[in-house]
């Protein structure tokens, strides 16, 4: 198992390096001059030259690449100031180190993700299990119907409605905002409760449907029937035998969802005017801010690879066939 984790980690580092290289060369190779973008509208040739020099764009391509990659490990110096490791370069737009920007925004994204996961896993999987257990009954029909409707909603639709009702017209709650958990745990929860709930409503609906269908699929499995033929109680068979197998597809999707959320829930952040990683990604793209975009992308890629490894470890934990082969 340890060997497996080691191998996967090495693989992930290599993949990250390749992604970094690929994005770097794609941007540099693209026929646009980033110095002039950074320079702004009324740009004098001298200023442009300065910026070129400051960004290191006057150096050979190989040197630029080396500086970028070694900066991540060892840090590098810019004329505008230090960029300690891990250095992902300086943002043109914010004129700040990209890493600092990401570190600044990450807590919000993490809070949204963790809060969302807790909600939609508990409620979604719980409802899905209940619906599967009481298949064909009213409970099942209501759960299935509601999740069908809710999962076809979108955050940018549900979000403003909730805001309109709870914030603007009634004033029961304040505008969503981020308060660091370490400062004020209650404020943290209250500030983010609306975005978390709105986001997880849609995920909850999806997870309800997924949990229900994969448990029902598992209940048809022959080994589940064998367990019943042994006289094991229905509830025991449901939780020990059917649920175990149903977890595999759920874990797969969960891994994808978590890495997507950590890479930035753009729509959620924009809908509720929150400053997270997603917002940073949008800024990078809109402002054609090369270092920022690359930085956000690498962080996103890191989360995806991390989740992939975690999902594989989860498989091994769930299924001995994976563990022992």
């Amino acid at each position: 198992m340890l060997q497996f984790i080691l191998r996967r980690s090495v693989g992930a580092v290599v993949t990250l390096f390749l992604i970094g290289a690929a994005t770097f060369f794609l941007f540099v190779a693209a026929p646009s001059d980033y110095a002039s973008l950074a320079c702004g509208k009324d740009c004098s040739p001298e200023r442009l030259e300065d910026i070129r020099h400051a960004l290191g764009l006057d150096l050979p391509l190989a040197t630029q690449f080396w500086d970028f990659m070694s900066g991540i490990v060892a840090g590098r110096d810019f004329p505008d100031g230090d960029c300690p490791a891990p250095c992902l370069g300086q943002s043109f737009y914010y004129s700040e180190n990209v890493w600092d920007l990401i570190v600044d925004r990450l807590p919000l994204t993490l809070s949204l993700t963790v809060g969302g996961i807790v909600c939609f896993l508990f409620v979604g999987l719980g409802t899905g299990m209940l619906a599967a257990y009481r298949r064909g009954t009213l409970v099942d029909k209501v759960a299935t119907g509601a999740s069908m409707v809710l999962s076809s909603f979108q955050i940018y639709f549900l979000g403003p409605i909730v805001l309109l009702i709870f914030v603007y017209s009634t004033g029961w709650m304040e505008d969503p905002k981020y308060v660091p958990f370490t400062q004020d745990p209650v404020g943290w929860l209250v500030g983010l409760s609306i975005p978390i709930l709105v986001m997880s409503t849609i995920f909850t609906a999806q997870y309800t449907r997924m949990a229900r269908s994969s448990i029902i699929e598992q209940l048809q499995e022959e080994h589940v029937r064998t367990a019943r033929a042994k006289g094991m109680p229905r509830r025991y068979v449901f939780f020990r035998y059917a649920w175990r197998g149903a977890m595999i597809p759920i874990v797969t999707i969960l891994g994808i969802d978590i890495s997507a959320l950590l890479g930035g829930g753009v729509v959620t952040e924009l809908t509720f005017s929150l400053q997270g990683i997603g917002r940073l990604a949008v800024d990078g793209a809109v402002q054609k801010d090369l270092p920022l975009t690359m930085g956000v992308m690498l962080v996103g890629a890191f989360f995806i690879l991390l989740m992939n490894i975690l999902v594989d470890i989860a498989y091994a934990w769930i299924d001995p066939r994976v563990r022992l082969s």
Binding site: E222, R225, T226, R228, K230, G231, M232, D319, L324
Partner: protein
């Protein structure tokens, strides 16, 4: 054969020696396409310590019958009518809690495919111990001892080590042995084996069949042995029930049914099977057509569209009226005893040598 003397329509009290008694069992599934009459008026008895073979092709209702006996049919989509008496207790009307107490304890099942019949997520030992702990209230240690003992009995080498292995670490034949051990954990009085060797290789099948027979002698369970293979059943069963389209078409002792079969379907099955010692130049005599859809079964005798002898029955009887299965040694067919005798001697018997 005294236990087979009850008619289909009279659910008389069961005799003392009849351990399982099924009376006029009807199982229907509602599907999108309509109602499937999976089992349509089936009656049979199983005596203690004896083996009843149920033979039929896919869709004959043989597996559904036995899932119903165990109460493992889907209660939402199926309806069950009739009577299933296990040692005097009606299983059709029994509460789920009571069924749970019986399953794996008084009656156990061996499924067809050992690869899918065991859960891949738990060790073989755990899966064996579970029912024993539940039904006898034994401790974990007692259950383990019992499981190791049973694994040894069915021929698993190093049972104490293999106890902690997962099913995928067993070979196909070993898995089926583990499934058999699991079924025998609580010393069941009724064992239902649903095509237990169909997924296995020939040499392994021979080992498992002999094992089941030897174990029955030791444990004295009644066995219902379901199969499509007449060769397998010939060596396993005391009594035989031939099923077609959800109904029993012929019953008797194995020797009677295979030695002097009296239903055209049984004739068809026997003469369409190639044999190791048969005449090589004799062409196989298949049954024409295919088994009927149970959504819309043929009128009258369900076998009549494939039957070669309907012209010997007066009028349109075969298509119009459903032949009944008389008590005891019998076949559900409109042919007279003399006709059957003549056809069998002239056309069928020469092939069965």
């Amino acid at each position: 054969m005294t236990t087979l003397t009850k008619t289909e329509d009279s659910p008389a009290p069961t005799g003392p020696e009849s351990f399982l008694s099924v009376r006029d069992l009807k199982v229907r599934f509602s599907t999108e396409d309509g109602i499937v009459k999976a089992v349509d008026g089936l009656s049979f008895d199983v005596e203690r310590g004896k083996t009843l073979g149920i033979v039929g092709e896919s869709g004959s209702g043989k597996s559904v019958t036995n899932l119903t006996v165990l109460g493992l049919h889907n209660p939402l989509s199926s309806t069950v009518e009739g009577e299933i008496l296990l040692d005097g207790q009606d299983l059709v009307t029994a509460a789920e809690k009571d069924m749970e107490r019986l399953r794996g304890n008084k009656m156990a099942m061996i499924f067809q495919d050992p690869l899918t019949a065991l859960s891949p997520y738990y060790t073989v030992g755990r899966q064996l111990s579970e029912p024993y702990m539940k039904h006898t209230g034994a401790s974990k240690k007692e259950a383990k001892d019992r499981a190791v003992q049973m694994l040894e009995k069915v021929g698993i080498p190093q049972p104490r080590t293999r106890f902690d292995d997962y099913p995928h670490q067993f070979s196909g034949g070993m898995r089926q042995r583990a499934v058999i051990a699991m079924a025998l954990m609580c010393d069941p009085e009724l064992l239902i084996a649903d095509e237990p060797t169909t997924a296995l290789d020939v040499t392994v099948q021979a080992q498992i069949l002999d094992l089941l027979r030897d174990l029955q002698q030791e444990f004295g369970s009644a066995i219902i042995f379901i199969t499509h293979d007449l060769g397998v059943i010939a060596n396993m069963a005391d009594d035989l029930l031939v099923m077609y389209a959800g109904r029993a078409v012929e019953r008797g002792t194995t020797k009677e049914v295979l030695g002097r079969p009296t239903h055209p379907y049984t004739w068809g099955l026997l003469s369409s099977m190639p044999r190791l010692d048969g005449d090589i130049n004799e062409e196989l005599m298949p049954i024409p057509g295919s088994p009927p859809s149970l959504l819309n079964p043929p009128s009258g005798c369900p076998f009549h569209p494939r039957c070669a002898y309907t012209d010997q029955v007066a009028g349109n009887l075969c298509a119009d009226s459903r032949p009944t299965l008389a008590p005891g040694r019998a076949a559900a067919c409109h042919l007279t005893a003399e006709q059957k005798q003549t056809i069998f001697i002239d056309k069928i018997q020469p092939r069965l040598r």
